[in-house]
Each structure stands twice: as structure tokens, then as C-alpha cells.
């Protein structure tokens, strides 16, 4: 279905007030597509369309809307409409909603919830942001260890309607402790008289509500599940986390890393939905910090002002040399940050990485050095630029500096993520610009010191 073409046809139906036809088409359209459509409609038409949806569908469509649209819609709904909406939302989406609205709206929403729903929402909201507790739903089916397969299926038929998923059900003891999980498919396939405990496929994989969401992601990836049970520290079952939330988590974790890697704070919202001011603030902070760090280059350069005055030709290669260090540093840090995030590398691997990067840095530096060397020789030879009588020494200076600068860049870029992780920070904070800044200052010093060594007595 091409959503680019839809709005016109729908608008037509809305403007001509053909409600019955609209209702019919809505009933056979996926909630996710309706949400996508509504975002493109003006608020008034959006509200009309929303009121044509069945209650269940309305709750689903609402879950798919972006945060600002949800807020807008909430303000336009009556208390009764709002109540019906909340009643029909899955508990985890409801929690997400309450966690994201401005406090005043949240208070208003909480007043409308029934005591039982309030308990759910409060319970889910009690967990810190990015913890598994925030993503769980208490909407699962529990069965007893004394049941047979056919009893379990009977029980599921009784209580299963409206649960978020039936793909996996959970065996709890009388006190509510989680014993095993059983796939619905296994229950269906099993001999009806088999005990459910014999159908379960151990070992049990479960999460604790206070776990970080990254651990949830790790477990889902490792064990290929569609839902995982969540318990408290004592093993009492609290809820489940489903794989659709995990997919969202995987995306946001990667987004955060990419944004940090680019040298800005994580935006925490889609690009277009971040206000311009808040965008400038999130980017300006890091940019200013980097700028302050980069000021050291001016200081470093002023140390060598005398050398530059004597041999202006040295200044020509400053950008080339420091940027090569920055580029090799960016490469190394982005590779290592991702490998750490995917747990391909652990902290204790730092030394092996150091060895690999040392060799890589040497090889890459040598390679760039050779290109730089011949650049000077060739330009001089063909009179494209005149680097003076000592051009050969200058070429050697550039060659040797590049080896040093690229190797330092590679090592700094690869070790910094390890150091940050060791200190308890996010490795992704060792962004490309951060590494580049670090390497720029050092690169300048390496370059001018090599120059002093090679050119003393000739150019310097």
C-alpha cells in the first residue's frame, strides 16, 4: 500500500462526510498505516478520523502516533473518550505514554485510570529509565505446574483474550515464583495428558526488572526468543518483555551511539521533532567543549611560531598532517566502539587490540607517508610548487611525521573507548571529533619536533 497516495482519497471521503464508507475502510487498514495517515492530516480531520475508529483500534492507532501528536490528541479528547482510550491500550504502551507526557498531562491522565490500571502504571513507572521494568507488560498468561497440556490450553482459552502475546506462557508456583516458560506451539503439539513441566524447554532465560535494557537486548539476541519473562530480585514474576520493544531498543541504542560518535549529545527524538533551540543546545555543548580543547592547537602552534617564520613552507602541511591523524583516529574509535557495544570485544581484550592497532597504525602511516613523500617530490619536479632547495628533507619530514601521527591517532582512537568504558563512561563519547581534537594537538607537536630533528641546520 502506498501511503503517499492515500491522503487524497481519504480526504475526499472525510470532506464528503461519507462516514460509513470511511469506517469500513478503516476497519480493514492496519493501525500503523492509519497512524501514518493521521500524521499527515490537519488536526481537525485527524480528530474526526480518530473518532470513527473502534475502541480497540483507536488504542492501537494511538500507540503508533508520535509523542507530540499523542499529546495534541489527548488535549482534544473528552475525559470519557480518554478513559476508553487508556482502557484499551496495552499496559506497556500506557506506561510509555505516561512517562513521556508533560507532568500536568500525566497527572490528568492518571486521574482517569481505574485503580487496577493505576496500580499497573505506577508499578511500571517505578523503574528507572532504560531499565527493563519500563518495557514490561503484566499482560501475560500464567499456568500452574500441576496442569497437563490440555488443562493449560483450556486455561489459556479462558484468560488469554486481549493479552499482548500468547506465543509463550509461564509456569508459576503458588507464590508467584517463575518456574519455566512454555511455547504455545509446544503445548499444542504435546500429548494432551503430558504435564506442562515436561513440555518446558529448559534452561529458563529470564530478566530482572532492574536490568538495563541493553541486557535485555543481549539476551534476546543470544537466545532467539519472541518474549522473555521479567521477575523481581526474588524470582517473583512481574511481567514480560516482547521482541517488538527489543527491536525498538536496538535501534535507539544504535542511534544514540551514532549521534554521540558524530560528536553531539543523543537527541532522544526524531530529528524533525527536536526543537531548533534544544537541537542547538545539544550540539553546542559538545562543539564548545571541543573548541576549547582545539584551542590548544593555537597554543602549540605559537610554541613553534619561530620555526614557522623561518620556514613558512612547514605551515603548508599542517592541515594535511593533523587531519590524517584525526581520520585514522576516527576510523579506529568507531570500529572499537561498535565492537564494544556488540560485546565482540571485552575490556580485557585491550592489549590484543593495542597490538593489532599498533601494526595497523604503522602500516597505514607508512602508506600515507609514502604518498605524501612522492606528492612533494612530484610537485617539485614538475614545478607545480617550489618547496626550495631542501625539498627532499622536507619530504622526509612529512613522511616520518605521518608515520608518527597516524600511529598515534590509531592508538589513541582505539584505546580511548576502552579507557572510557573502564572509567564507567559510555565508550561512544570518544567521538570522531573528540579523537580528532586530541590527535590534532599531539600531531602538531610530533610534526614540528620531527621537523626540528631533520631540518636543523638547513631550513631551521
Amino acid at each position: 500500500m502506498d501511503t503517499q497516495v492515500l491522503p487524497v482519497a481519504w480526504k475526499d471521503l472525510i470532506q464528503n462526510q461519507r462516514w460509513e464508507e470511511l469506517r469500513g475502510r478503516l476497519a480493514t487498514t492496519h493501525s500503523s498505516d492509519i497512524a501514518e495517515l493521521m500524521v499527515q492530516l490537519p488536526p481537525k480531520e485527524e480528530a474526526i478520523l480518530f473518532r470513527l475508529l473502534s475502541r480497540d483500534q483507536a488504542a492501537q492507532v494511538f500507540s503508533y502516533l508520535p509523542g507530540d501528536r499523542q499529546e495534541e490528541l489527548i488535549r482534544s479528547l473528552s475525559s470519557d473518550e480518554m478513559k476508553s482510550l487508556l482502557d484499551h491500550m496495552p499496559p506497556d504502551d500506557r506506561t510509555q505514554l505516561l512517562g513521556e507526557m508533560p507532568p500536568a498531562v500525566t497527572r490528568q491522565l492518571l486521574q482517569i485510570l481505574s485503580p487496577a490500571e493505576l496500580k499497573d502504571a505506577r508499578q511500571l513507572l517505578g523503574y528507572p529509565e532504560h531499565s527493563v521494568g519500563r518495557y514490561m507488560t503484566p499482560d501475560y498468561v500464567a499456568i500452574g505446574p500441576e496442569m497437563t497440556a490440555s488443562e493449560a490450553l483450556e486455561h489459556i482459552r479462558k484468560v488469554g483474550r486481549g493479552k499482548e502475546t500468547l506465543d509463550v506462557v509461564y509456569i508459576l508456583d503458588e507464590s508467584g515464583k517463575l518456574l519455566e516458560d512454555v511455547r504455545l506451539g509446544s503445548l499444542v503439539l504435546a500429548d494432551p495428558r503430558t504435564m506442562v513441566t515436561a513440555i518446558a524447554d529448559p534452561p529458563l532465560v529470564s530478566l530482572v526488572a532492574s536490568d538495563d535494557r541493553e541486557r535485555a537486548l543481549e539476551q534476546f539476541e543470544k537466545y532467539d526468543r519472541v518474549a522473555l519473562p521479567v521477575s523481581d530480585a526474588l524470582g517473583n514474576m512481574l511481567g514480560i518483555v516482547t521482541v517488538d520493544d527489543i527491536l525498538d531498543i536496538a535501534e535507539s541504542e544504535a542511534t544514540e551511539d551514532i549521534q554521540k560518535l558524530g560528536g553531539s549529545e543523543a537527541l532522544d527524538a526524531p530529528y524533525m521533532q527536536v526543537g531548533l533551540l534544544s537541537m542547538i543546545r545539544k550540539r553546542g555543548g559538545w562543539l564548545s567543549a571541543l573548541f576549547l580543547g582545539e584551542m590548544l592547537t593555537a597554543t602549540a602552534m605559537s610554541f613553534f611560531e619561530g620555526e614557522i617564520a623561518r620556514a613558512v613552507v612547514l605551515a603548508l602541511f599542517v592541515p594535511l598532517i593533523i587531519s590524517s591523524g584525526g581520520n585514522s583516529g576516527s576510523q579506529a574509535s568507531s570500529l572499537i566502539i561498535r565492537a564494544l557495544a556488540l560485546r565482540e570485544l571485552k575490556l580485557r581484550d585491550w592489549f590484543r587490540v593495542f597490538g593489532r592497532e599498533f601494526v595497523s597504525g604503522l602500516a597505514l602511516g607508512f602508506m600515507l607517508g609514502v604518498i605524501g613523500f612522492f606528492r612533494i617530490i612530484i610537485w617539485q619536479h614538475f614545478h607545480l610548487t617550489n618547496y626550495g632547495e631542501h625539498y627532499l628533507l622536507l619530504a622526509f619530514t612529512v613522511w616520518a611525521s605521518l608515520i608518527g601521527v597516524v600511529m598515534f591517532g590509531t592508538l589513541a582512537g582505539s584505546m580511548l573507548p576502552f579507557i572510557l568504558r573502564r572509567l564507567g563512561f559510555d565508550p561512544a563519547a570518544s567521538s570522531a571529533p573528540f579523537v580528532a581534537t586530541l590527535v590534532d594537538v599531539t600531531g602538531l607537536c610530533i610534526y614540528f619536533l620531527v621537523a626540528l630533528l631533520i631540518l636543523r641546520g638547513t631550513l631551521l
Copy 2:
């Protein structure tokens, strides 16, 4: 379970040849954990352990092993062992395996497959890399549109054993055309006499085998499914893709983007598994290309050699100014690349982004410019550096250049991903180092032109 502590206990059991005890422990350990353990064992012990596994478990453990370990193990297995292994692997894992091995090994493997398996594997292998066809498994349950819920459950009981998932089953017509999908949970909940077609929850969401895997990811995210059906262009059902593969795809897409963003080719394998030579090649290519681009800075600088000779003080701020442009460019490009990858932004949004980035760039440039301005004033005032009598004009030069350079960096960084996508390239190729290189050359020109404008008649 702490896998760091395991190996010692397991090694003990292996060295003391306590096979029965080992077999017992293996039977209650998750295949994923066994694979993790095996990777840490020397090849001989790995092979022993592998032979203690039941056939089903062996196939599962094998699926979890990294590519190089799989290859090693295959070489050590007899034809019969290999055949049993392949027999027990899910078809999609088998395909993945065949696609990844060196051609000689693949041929050897294909010879061992039974004609039916060979058909499966060949069929899956016929699809291009990164297409949905590569990830699908023909291991699903099909039911007829004329069945009732209880007939469907009966059918599932007959044919469901060993299928990759039973969570969703598929209604096909007699010719094999995909009509609807039905969740097993809905079948269980429904009145046994209901027709399956009445239980299906339209609209049907499905993939085409030739679709790019990114589309699969998009559909899974949008519709919150655990499995999606795959059909050919004519609507004939070919197989299903399950969410565990999609989670892997989401991770590898993000990894590729992060690695490209850091300015190297995508590694296509975990960091430690990439050979040193191939690592250097993958990084050296881009690094050399960037170096060649960066050489233009030396050319640009040589245009202004005269100005530098007259006012060496100008050279001091070159690294500071060009790196500010590079940093703001990296920020912008990483934000935009991610937003494009997540489809938060579409090509047609480029102009709105241009507007936002113009304002952001102006604001950020102004901010950095002010910091730079006061840096010069303060250093001069406290005699930390002597910038000469025209220090105020120099400060203005730095301030104005920074506005220009940061704004150019921001605009180049944000527009480049759009341009690349428009031209059919991957936006992630507009890496931080690439943008930095582009901005360095332009930044130099901006800086020296501003200097000529402001300092003519005084310093210049």
C-alpha cells in the same frame, strides 16, 4: 551463568574423560552458551565436546558458532557426521552457512545434502546477498482456507513438529498463493467451529523474496510481528522470515553505518575475526582517498604562502578554524545519516533540513566565534601570547571566519547525505572524515579570504 568461570570446570571434566557427566551437563545447557564455551576451548577439546552433543543440539550449537569456527569444525568432521549436522540445521541457517564458506567447502557440503535439502538450499541461495530470500526458511505451517479452527489445530499437530515457529500459520489457496496469516494464539482462543479465514486479522503484511533486507526490518518495526511471510512476485508463498533474524539485521545495518561513518569500509565480520591484512586494506583504501583529498589543503595553503610569510600569526589559528568546521560537519552528517536510515527523513525533506541547519550553523558559528574572539583578547590582555598591535582585528578575523566555516561545515555535513542518497549511494559514506576533509579545504579559503578583507592595509 557466568561463562568466564565455566571453562575450568568443563576442562576438568574433559581431561578426566568423565563423558557421562559431561553429556548430562551439556543436555541442560543452552546451545548458545555451549557455543560460547567451545570458542574458548582448543580445537581438539572443542571437537570432543561437539561429538558428545545430541544431533539436534549439535546442529543448534553449530549455528551459534562464528564462521571461522564452523569452517574449522567442518574440516574435522567425517562425511556422515557432516550429513547428520546439516540434516538437523534449520534451512535458513544452512543457507547462511553455505553462503559463507569458501567455494571448495561449499561444493563439498552441497554434495552431502539430500536432493530435497539441496532444493531448499539452492532455492534460498538463488537470491542476492542482503535480499529477504537469503533469510527466509521454508519451515512454516500452511493451512487451507476451508479449514475450521479445530481442523487447523489438528493439522498443526500433524505437521508442526520441528518447524522453526508455530506462532503464526499461513492460509494458502490450492495453488499455493498466500491469502492470510493467523496467529496460533487466535486459533486456540477461537470457537473450534469458526472458519480460519474469519480468525485472520487483516490486512495481510508480507514481503517479496527479492526485497532488500532493510524493507523487512522496516515492516517488522512498523507492524510489530514475530514472523512475516515471503512470497514471489506472483504472490506464491515461499517461506517466512522470523524476528530473530531481523534483530541480527538491525544490528548489522547499524554496524555498517557506524563503520562507514568512522571512515572505513564495513568490516562485515567481528573486529577480532578480521585478518590484519584485510583490516588494513579496508581502512587503507578510504584513508588514502581522504589523504589525496586533504592534499588540496597543502595546495590551498600554498596560495596564501605570501600572506602567511607576512603575518605568521595567521597560521596559528589554522588548525583551530578548520577543525571547528570539521566537527560541526561531523555532527550534522551523523544526525542526518541516522535520520535517513531510520526513515525519519525522506529525500524530499532536504529543504526543510537546509533551513534548520542554516539557522543552527549560524548560531553555533556565532557562539564559537565569540569564544574564539575572547580567547584572543584575554590571552593578549594577560600577556600569555603577543598577537601584535592589530590583535583586535585578528580577533575579528577569527570570529567572522568561524561563523563562515561552521556554517559551511554544518550545511555540507547535512546536505551531503541527501546528495549521496539522491545519486543512489549509501548516505553513510559521507563519513565524519570525508566531511572534515571537504570542509578543511573550504575552511582554509574562507579564513584567508576573510583575513584579506579585514587585515588588508594593516597586517597584510
